[in-house]
Symmetry: C2
Subunit: 272 residues, 2 copies
DNA sequence: GCCCCTCGATTTACGTTGTAAACGAGACGC
DNA sequence: GCGTCTCGTTTACAACGTAAATCGAGGGGC
């Protein structure tokens, strides 16, 4: 095949993104979950889900089949069915497990003990860390149908919804504005992170081509899109971290206004 | 008259959602594409893609198989391979076709002839109309890996990227701020619309249960989440249209500031 | 008339998938 | 010893995506 030299070399990147997997301490770590042959004996649901996450991270979502996951665990496919009712449920479990990593992140708190802004900031970065740690899993987190209409991705767990609402209401938000904030926050996270991981994915995935002549590539005719061509350097810049920060900042400011005005954020017009 | 108004702060009529499929004229219509048995003879790529979209809209993405799509067109599965190289490419084509509906929407313009805010408003509502018209397809639009890293969902077409950048630069944005706006706009649309369609989906999909005893439902124990329980009526409210409008409004205001200050939006305060 | 060629759809076939069902093989209380 | 329970394997099957061979119907060229 191609040069397997792919040491996940820590590129100098830019000014150290604190949410990047290598850029931090131990948070957002995967469940150990046993390497292929290791730690045989003693399968259980958590180990199956952990192996599934590991597998998806390594081989991509499409590569995950019951048979291959079984092999990855050193076991026949049917053995998995003792711990997982089926493939769909396995994927649900994967999503849940990944989100549950939040719970073990020491930088994310369940309560707003240092103010709601600190709470939201930490939570956002925690979710971002997870998204970046599992870029192949995140689209699943984003698109799997939620259990209830008001359990929204990417924060798809009752516990976090409860925590979120309590944090804001406890900080002076009205019930209405807390719910509105929950919605705005969810869509902010979802949009930013899905975009970020999908763009990360495209940087790597498209058939590695050690093309002898990178110029005059076979890509579509760009002559009709002069602006795109001209701005390509700008467009290709990866400013995800800064954009995330800025949008989060902006959202917090919006919420601050809502909180100060002590009413629901919607309907900015009909001032009392 | 239905919709976008350049002056931010003027919400459109809020009674009826103008982007809902029934709520408007002919925009965002599907390619006719022949009902199951009808219009035999004369298959071609467009008809295949149109049928695929129709099929997904009706039966859901998971139900789409080459064999079933063939049957839907009154033809054997293998016949499709004359017009489509394979299933993956079919899905790519579906995404492209759906986005191309924008191009036929009379309310969406390629150029910012009535100002950039009007342009962005119309474009946003056009995309939203498409998302609502094809809720089962939109997750595909959101998650399929883009061709290039800077062709972002949901506006995944070079033509629209070009149009977007031209519109903003032609309205006085710097190149940097136009690109930044493109990113912010993409993530806004993606987050909001993906959330909206996924929530729409959950309202219908979960196995219709003519449950004899709707009380004491089998759903998980909610007693640990009192706030969620208490706010459930609020959480279940569907305010998507208003939220979309408000977030769009807010984005436009942010961009207006950027434009007036004549510099790039990021790094407003370099202090941490 | 006939022959042959191309086009569009079908038939057949194969490997892979998810999963139902039957089947061992230890480990344990008695 | 014996059931019985737990956990993994074997076997089996329908449905999937798709490669390859096949077939029928026009449509020139002569």
């Amino acid at each position: 095949m191609t040069g397997p030299d792919t040491t996940p070399g820590t590129l100098p990147d830019e000014s150290a993104d604190p949410d990047t997997p290598e850029g931090r301490g131990g948070a957002a770590a995967v469940i150990p979950a046993a390497s292929p042959g290791t730690a045989r004996g003693g399968l259980d649901r958590r180990r199956v889900l952990g192996a599934a996450i590991e597998f998806i991270d390594q081989q991509g979502l499409d590569a995950l089949t019951m048979r291959r996951l079984g092999a990855h665990l050193g076991v026949e496919a049917m053995a998995l069915y003792r711990y997982v009712p089926g493939r769909e449920n396995l994927l649900d479990g994967v999503v849940e497990s990944v989100i549950d990593e939040l719970y073990g992140d020491p930088d994310v708190h369940l309560a707003a003990s240092h103010g709601w802004q600190d709470y939201l900031q930490r939570l956002a970065h925690g979710v971002r860390r997870i998204a970046l740690a599992h870029p192949e899993v995140f689209p699943l987190v984003a698109t799997r149908p939620p259990a209830a209409p008001w359990v929204r991705p990417p924060l798809r767990s009752l516990r976090w919804v409860e925590s979120f609402l309590d944090a804001l209401i406890g900080s002076g938000f009205t019930q209405e504005s807390a719910v509105a904030a929950y919605r705005a926050y969810s869509s902010f996270l979802l949009g930013h992170l899905l975009l970020e991981v999908s763009q990360k994915g495209v940087k790597i995935s498209p058939e590695d081509q050690p093309d002898g002549v990178p110029e005059a590539a076979a890509s579509t005719d760009l002559s009709e899109y002069p602006t795109v061509v001209r701005l390509e350097p700008l467009l290709s810049l990866d400013e995800s971290a800064a954009e995330f920060e800025e949008a989060l900042e902006n959202l917090l400011e919006r919420l601050e206004v809502v909180l100060r005005e002590g009413r629901t954020p919607r309907r900015g017009d009909p001032r009392d």
